[in-house]
Assembly symmetry: C2
Homo-oligomer: 343 residues x 2
């Protein structure tokens, strides 16, 4: 089967996906019977490319390196914004990867609604709309008989949502807890090696793990968005961002870390959602973890998640939690899930 | 949708499944739209029950406790053997859970062929037929347009095969390595606490982890069968049992364990399959693991598996690797996968 795709947003995630679609085209066709043809690439400030016959992704990736898509040959460059690109692309699948915005999720929210109302499937790694309005968007998708998939919103390509959907279906999940943010885990791991908080943060920034304004990571906002998504999608909760107790890692001192180490424990920023009677209690907070907990050994910028279930007890999965190709893979994984559902 | 099931073999796994089908009937119907009706339960020495209207599993479980199925009310008790039960049950799905036999996989192999050739889906936790003849059986299933599912053959209910199928589809797997046998991991963990090999083995036997004849576990045969299954199913290998290098844990001494501990390493019985050019090299052997390896922290009778991939680097999943309800859950998970494929 051939699927036409519009990529809305062409940053690291969509570029990671584009690279995979080039590299893995043969495998996808031969092993999965699926061909993904990108007809549209829309950016906010670098122009929009459109070719109904399919864009050459290698050329588009090169053009993107120049800071504009002007370099793409032919007359493919359009003056469309995101909404126009979604409407005029005619693509079956809209891959929305504009930057995450946890205030009102725009412009992604408008992109999602435009696509779903137009009968287009939506695949995304953008946490904003899913954290703020999962239920409404899922209902909109169902109303228009299309699919909304978002594996890349948590732990990048490490498959959490599909694991819960396929492998844990039929289990009752009583708690989800995990290391959901690689930057803070890197900082805490460095502090355990003897570094101070400021130095560890600077190093994370130098390595590109942390932004110049590190608040989204160190204050726990990124992990919080993921907790809301996990609780609402996998545990049937109905949480808003404001319902989650939140504490970042900035208050953790070198002395705290040393004391924990002497007690055979480790500080980790743990995102958790657990059932408490009929409600779901959710939090993001620095937590002392004993060394024999599966989350204790998760160092550097790795992520991990433990599902506490009725039948299987604890199941823990760990893997990379960020990166353009890895998050691009999450989108590819969702494209293959869509293909399974439609074929 | 309603599915009729014949359970062939009614030991701990099928009893675990039966318990889950009783406990979760409402959830399965309401959340998944699936009703599983067991019409036949065949045992080798305790008789065969059959009721086309569906057996009462709670009563059958109680009857099984008496050592025979005579106690089941009505005239449901038949003199059918496994093959007759498969043919005469008329069930859509045959759940085959007779004991694993790695020599010729009988009687399961005959049960599998009978069911597949008769157009019945087969779900199993029995490693024998899958380790010895996966490709031939998969071809037979395809020829007869039915499905062959076997999540319970590796890591019981901890979802490995579905993780690879759903979450890692599109990844290139270069190596699979893991702790695939809980008994040996328990013994090695106890030795690390200071126990000798013989004492640790006795304790595992007292706890029911190890059989009176512990050879299948401590000599690596159980892990070996799982390596063959993982390599052939997930990496496209064509390995026989004899192709896998095998060494058990009986040669590991308390001194070896103490020396490793002093070097911040741990002995683990590692099953591995890795690509080496065009071939797959597979082994089961005691291996020294550094403490920062995700497999190092896997203690007691837990299991874990690491997938080494091209895009996602390493993904490790850990969970329970044995137990009646847990392995029964693997069968339930496959029933839900079958339901997804057919609906």
């Amino acid at each position: 089967m051939i699927y036409t795709l519009a990529l809305v947003g062409f940053g690291t995630v969509s570029q990671g996906l584009a690279g995979l679609l080039v590299d893995k085209a043969d495998v996808l066709a031969q092993q999965h019977g699926a061909t993904f043809r990108v007809t549209t690439i829309a950016t906010r400030s670098r122009g929009t490319l459109h070719d109904p016959a399919g864009l050459d992704l290698s050329v588009a990736l090169q053009a993107a390196q120049t800071g504009s898509l002007d370099a793409y040959p032919g007359d493919c460059l359009k003056r469309w914004d995101g909404v126009q690109a979604i409407r005029r692309s005619g693509a079956q699948v809209v891959v929305e990867n504009t930057p995450t915005n946890l205030d009102d999720a725009e412009p992604a929210m408008t992109h999602f609604k435009t696509a779903l109302e137009g009968g287009q499937h939506v695949i995304t790694a953008n946490k904003g709309p899913i954290a703020l309005a999962y239920k409404a968007l899922e209902q909109l998708a169902q109303k228009h008989h299309v699919h909304l998939l978002f594996e890349g919103t948590v732990l990048s390509g490490t498959p959490i949502l599909s694991l819960a959907r396929c492998g844990l279906g039929g289990c009752h999940i009583s708690q989800i807890k995990g290391i959901l943010n690689g930057t803070t885990n890197y900082i805490l791991s460095q502090m355990e090696e003897g570094m101070g908080y400021d130095e560890a943060l600077e190093r994370a920034q130098a390595l590109g793990f942390a932004e110049a304004d590190p608040s989204a990571d160190v204050d726990g906002w990124d992990a919080l968005a993921k907790v809301v998504i996990l609780a609402n999608v996998l545990m049937g909760a109905n949480l808003s961002v404001g319902d989650v107790e939140r504490e970042g890692i900035a208050g953790i001192t070198a002395a705290d870390v040393a004391r924990a180490k002497a007690e055979n424990r480790r500080w980790k920023l743990i995102g958790s959602a657990r059932r408490d009677g009929e409600t779901i209690k959710a939090s993001v907070q620095p937590t002392l973890i004993p060394l024999d907990d599966p989350l204790a050994g998760v160092g550097a910028a790795m992520n991990a998640l433990t599902f506490c279930t009725d039948v299987l007890q604890s199941v823990t999965i760990r893997g990379v939690g960020a990166g353009g190709p890895q998050t691009g893979f999450a989108v590819l994984s969702d494209l293959l899930e869509l293909h399974r559902r439609l074929s």
